[in-house]
Amino acid sequence: MDALLSLMDGFGSALSPMNMLWVLVGCLLGTAVGVLPGLGSSMAVALLLPMTFALDPTGAFIMFAGVYFGGLFGDSTMAILMNTPGQGSAIASTFEGHKMAKSGRAPQALATAAIGAFTGGMISSILVVFLAPALASLSAVFGPAEYFALALFAFVATSSVVSDSVLKGLASLVLGLAIAVVGIDSVTGTERFTSGVPELFDGISLVTVTVAVLALGEVFRVASRLRRDPEAMVMVSSGRPFLSGREFREAIPAWLRGAGIGLPFGVVPVGGSEVPTFMAYGLERRLDKRSGRNKFGKGAIRGLAAPEAAGNATTGTAMASLLALGLPVSATAAIMLAAFQQYGLQPGPLLFDRAPDLVWGLLASFFIAMVVLLILNLPFAPLWAKLLLIPKPYLYAGITVFCALGIYATSNNIFDLGMLLGIGIVGFMMRRFDIPLAPLMIGMVLGPLAESSLRDALLSSNGDYSILVSSWITAILYVVLAGVVFLSLYGKLAQRRKERGTAMTDVDS
């Protein structure tokens, strides 16, 4: 009941006219950035970070909530209309969603996605309200060994499960970890890898790395390929914009199942919502096959509804682990963590006591953002696609200038712009050679936590490594981790065998 009362207070502060305006602005900007090709919700948060410096913390975070969920909506709009997911979490939506759009059912696909995202987001936000305080008190029993296990879990899961090649995933991960160790060591105050450059004493900023890898790298990639590889055209189709009763009834179970799959993944750090969206898609596909309907591959509404709900459910609960544990499980959450720190706030168990109005205001604005987005997206989603009528040269030129503005505004020095360019080139190379970007971001984000908790644990045990596996929580985490790795390796082997099998039959026929 406490949680409900606090939430009511949160609504009280979030519903002031000024804050409502920030939610609306956030939703609009977030969707706009999410709609742009190649840019996803984490990019929306990073690019708009400097804008929030002019606001008070509550207003800023309320706007972030809008940007965050708006970016997701924009992502899936593009995944459906253009087959260009801005972020890994929207990939599963392209399979059936783009097929629906291709067969002239784009408005229905967009409506399915919007309602799915709304369902998933709402359910998870409600859960977060009750779960976050409980999680915060649970985290009191978490020691360094547990935090190290969580970080390790995130590293292994992102680099092995999410990426196609384990080696490439690991390469990306260690590069991210290497970026994270630059700067003054938090435990001993030793200068590390700075070569005496004062700008590096605080480490390489997460915002710089995010903008460089995700946005500038993409600009370079597009520049290097645009002449040869013009991207597909956009589809806008007219006609009945809403779902029919039958379609609605067909989608309902998929929305709920998707949300159910997505929820637990927000608290488990496996690098955002890619895994649950694929799992939700896979489940619907199997169910479809078993029921003998065989609608998949031709634009099945359930194949779109489930991953959309799963994706937003994950992002919702991801906020719980950010707020309550101070543990960012995705790149977007990591940038929000940076924003908290910019205001001198440290997410974690104490945040609920120290800044309750901010936390509950933020949670309340999740609900408001969902409603605003549903209203914005259900009727107007095809209008968003018109943003793509901006000629590519000006679109990317504008994005690049915005990147430069963002970095200069947050750091106020030229050195960081140089870092932006250097890391942007690395981001381009990674795209060119198919190295996944997510592990680098996770490594960069959780690297400091992993290092400090590992050292703390070893310090308290006098160098005895067995402390890392001594408690039941760590034991459970490692067992689950082993299971996840085993399942993913098994899945990959099975897939490879199947591919070989189909290749053989192709030759035969």
């Binding site: 067969s103 080696l167 030793t190 370079f220 290097s224 055209m233 040269p393 690049t400 030229i414 990674m430």
Partner: protein, 195 residues
């Protein structure tokens, strides 16, 4: 080919016609092995870190695993993974996915590189020039120059119009962020009133 919005009737397919795939010249042994750049980058990072490990100023009384401990693990991991990745690339060359040709005039063109180097040079060069000139020229001119270079790298064919647009864009940002939201943007010491 320009992007366009297209109306689709139910049941209609809009897949563009495909005339073939992009052709790129072979580069002997290096074909499909350009990805070795990534292990090379990793080795460079690891070497830089290794040198710094020895020159690091560590307080002698530190207890437990010190500031060198975690980087040490990383350096080892960087070397091992770089070698494994390099071996993998050498054994199985990986060519990037070639684009499909949807424009009939492009059929038969053989490009010398997969990457469009001149265009990429415009984009990277624009950024370099922006960084070098931001303080001397001020935000408005430097950002306009950056905008212009990137637009050019993306194949804009109207350089004169672009100058106007670029100046308009950078000035608008200066007004919104520099003036209204008081973000500290340089005004430049050549044209602006000092620093």
């Amino acid at each position: 080919m320009n992007e366009e919005l297209q109306e689709v009737a139910p049941g209609q397919s809009i897949d563009p016609e495909v005339y073939g795939t992009e052709q790129v010249k072979e580069h002997g042994w290096w074909t499909g092995r350009a990805g070795l750049a990534i292990p090379a980058l990793m080795v460079a990072v690891a070497t830089y870190m290794l040198i710094n490990q020895f020159t690091m100023d560590v307080a002698p009384d530190a207890e437990g695993p010190g500031p060198r401990f975690f980087p040490g693990v990383l350096i080892a991991a960087l070397f091992v993974i770089a070698i494994a990745l390099a071996v993998d690339i050498i054994r199985k060359p990986q060519s990037p996915e070639m684009a499909v040709i949807t424009d009939q005039d492009q059929v038969g063109t053989v490009h010398s590189w997969y990457t469009d180097w001149p265009r990429l040079a415009w984009a990277v060069g624009g950024m370099v020039v922006f960084i070098a000139l931001l303080l001397p020229l001020g935000w408005i001119l430097a950002a306009a120059l950056l905008f212009w270079c990137i637009a050019r790298s993306m194949g804009s064919k109207r350089p004169v119009f672009d100058i106007t647009l670029a100046l308009l864009f950078s000035s608008a940002i200066y007004l919104i962020f520099g003036v209204a939201l008081s973000v500290d943007l340089p005004s430049g010491f050549i044209f602006g009133g000092g620093l």
